[in-house]
């Protein structure tokens, strides 16, 4: 029984980081109706920003966090400006958005390989590796902080969307972007805000990911799993993205713990295909039927 709860704790901790990544995908999808595959590259660069802020600039932990989050927010907005805005202005078909996103993702991953190199880098130790023990469970200090900060960030996001004026504009645009524009919502600003928010969380997630594992250019493969979590929860739905992430994280640790760690990566893709076949709108997503 202890092992069971231990797995739940581990699953929640990794699931919370998936959630930070997944809401970035879902936020963009809710406004622009396409999967922003460049988001994985943004998360990866967040891990690098944090790494270099700590090692090169010798910034303290919290400042490095801020540097990484601001860096990725700017990067996400820049990607939107360069790769998506011209398409949006032209009302291009969604196929072009996906292709452009794919180009951006390839660009980001490979520019890191070409400049910094494909080697794995390890974050300096910020929190002691010795786990805390609570009620017979051993909980990593980092895991606990990951969970806490992720929950804080996600609550902050919800508060921003529910309580502020800009948040109201985002909600309106996600409901119907054309009607929102007619009602005087500045949709360009909404899109920029959404990318900045997704970027901020991507930076936090990237740093955590780098601290928990290592930093390397192909982190994108992991971020793909957070994307799957977003699909699982229902693309475009923020609570769905969080729920999907937590379920995926827990399932993964259970599969790794009870079956074999080799199947851990497979489970995500099996879930993905299962969801697409049986309930493509995910757990809490908008129905996929489009109106002409």
């Amino acid at each position: 029984m202890t092992q069971f709860f231990q797995q739940v704790v581990n699953g929640l901790s990794i699931g919370s980081v998936y959630a930070l990544m997944a809401v970035g995908y879902s936020l963009v999808y809710s406004i622009m109706n396409f999967s922003n595959f460049a988001h994985g590259g943004v998360i990866m660069l967040g891990a690098y920003f944090g790494f270099y802020a700590m090692t090169l600039l010798k910034l303290p932990f919290l400042a490095s966090f801020a540097v990484a989050a601001l860096g990725t927010a700017l990067l996400a907005v820049a990607i939107e400006r360069i790769a998506y805005r011209p398409l949006r202005m032209r009302k291009a078909p969604f196929l072009y958005f996906i292709i452009s996103a794919m180009g951006a993702s390839i660009f980001l991953e490979n520019i890191v390989i070409a400049t910094i190199g494909p080697t794995f880098r390890t974050y300096p130790e910020v929190f002691a590796r010795t786990p805390l023990s609570l009620w017979g469970l051993s909980i990593g200090r980092l895991d606990l902080i990951m969970f806490g900060v992720s929950a804080l960030c996600l609550s902050g996001l919800v508060a921003f969307i529910e309580l502020t004026r800009t948040g109201k504009a985002i909600r309106a645009a996600s409901y119907n972007i054309k009607a929102a524009a007619l009602m005087g919502v500045n949709t360009d600003r909404v899109v920029t805000t959404v990318f900045a928010l997704g970027g901020l969380l991507a930076g936090v997630a990237g740093v955590f990911f780098g601290m928990k594992y290592t930093v390397y250019p192909q982190i994108g493969v992991i971020t793909l799993k957070s994307f799957i979590a977003a699909v699982f929860g229902g693309l475009g739905s923020l609570p769905g993205a969080v729920l999907g992430s937590v379920i995926l994280g827990t399932l993964e640790t259970f599969v790794a713990g009870y079956l074999s760690s080799q199947f851990r990566d497979l489970i995500a893709f099996v879930i993905l295909i299962g969801v697409l076949v049986f309930k493509p709108s995910g757990i809490m997503g908008k129905p996929t039927e489009d109106k002409a």
């Binding site: 396409f34 398409l87 078909p93 980001l108 893709f269 295909i273 697409l276 996929t288």
Partner: protein, 294 residues
């Protein structure tokens, strides 16, 4: 011809084979796939089983590769092509990665360490014949009634449906045909490399194939041919700057999308009739410009 150049030609032919199928799917039908490397993997492993394990002739391997890929494509299509927008593309992504991970963990076929000792059956001649058949079949297909229906689906799905085109059936057709091309390309690749490994069929392979289609131009077969040949030779010539290759690809893809989304040859063909058409259009444009000037 020295064997190095010959090798690159064969590789270009193999890439072209896979790209032709993807050209039908993305260029003519407007569906985006992240998983065609998965179909190539299925083709490669099926063909290798036929020739290496069962000692059957290469042609049996090729046919089996195309057939197996087609079955998988049909099943995937039946399950996911009813979905709109992004979801099909996400499904192909899941499919491609799942195939790779299954092969990685299936020790009977070598697992992640790969499968050495596949006979070297691929030659200049058989790959050339396959490519010629592939191009002829595809160019006839896109000019047939079925091809026009596919283009109609790409241009405006709803209108196509109202005009009586069974959209899901035609999308499935495009997917199955493109998977056959990918499967056959996988078979040739396996018997060219004589060694197959799941890693060869990763997401990056799928995206590279799509990049070639986009470079060549959506909706142009000669563009795809040109794209496959140029983009196979270019990295060989630019070995020294190889690590910048994908950086340039990524940037170029964005640039093409925001400035000239139809790619190099989008919607145009390098055939006598196609060239005549391009020249006629140029003239008409010039005449229109002159008329509006005074």
């Amino acid at each position: 011809m020295d064997s190095y150049i010959q090798g690159i030609f064969m590789l270009a032919g193999i890439n072209l084979m896979a790209v032709l199928g993807l050209s039908l799917l993305t260029g003519f039908t407007g569906l985006f796939s992240f998983g065609h490397a998965g179909f190539m993997a299925i083709g490669a492993y099926t063909a290798a089983i036929m020739t290496s394990m069962l000692k059957l002739p290469f042609i049996v391997g090729i046919v089996a590769a195309g057939f197996t890929a087609a079955i998988f494509a049909y099943l995937i299509g039946r399950m996911t092509l009813k979905l709109k927008g992004d979801y099909f593309c996400i499904a192909t992504l899941g499919f491609g990665e799942a195939i790779r991970l299954i092969l990685d963990n299936f020790q009977g076929l070598g697992g992640s360490r790969g499968w050495p000792g596949v006979p070297a059956h691929t030659s200049m001649l058989n790959i050339f014949i396959a490519v010629v058949i592939g191009v002829l079949f595809l160019s006839n297909l896109v000019r047939s009634r079925h091809g026009r229906n596919l283009i109609a689906v790409r241009e405006e799905e709803l209108a196509a449906q109202i005009a009586g085109i069974n959209v899901v059936r035609y999308k499935t057709l495009a997917l199955v045909v493109s998977a056959i091309y990918a499967g056959v390309a996988g078979a040739f690749l396996a018997h060219y490399m004589t060694f197959i490994q799941p890693k060869m069929f990763s997401l990056i392979k799928s995206t590279e194939l799509t990049i070639i289609v986009i470079f060549g131009g959506l909706g142009s077969i000669s563009g795809s041919v040109l794209g496959a040949v140029v983009l196979t030779f270019l990295p060989e010539l630019l070995r020294a700057v190889d690590k910048w290759r994908l950086v340039a690809y990524g940037a170029a893809v964005i640039l093409i999308m925001i400035s000239r989304p139809r790619g190099l040859m989008g919607g145009m063909e390098l055939t006598p009739n196609g060239i005549k058409k391009i020249i006629a259009e140029r003239k008409a444009k010039k005449a229109a410009a002159q008329r509006s000037e005074p």
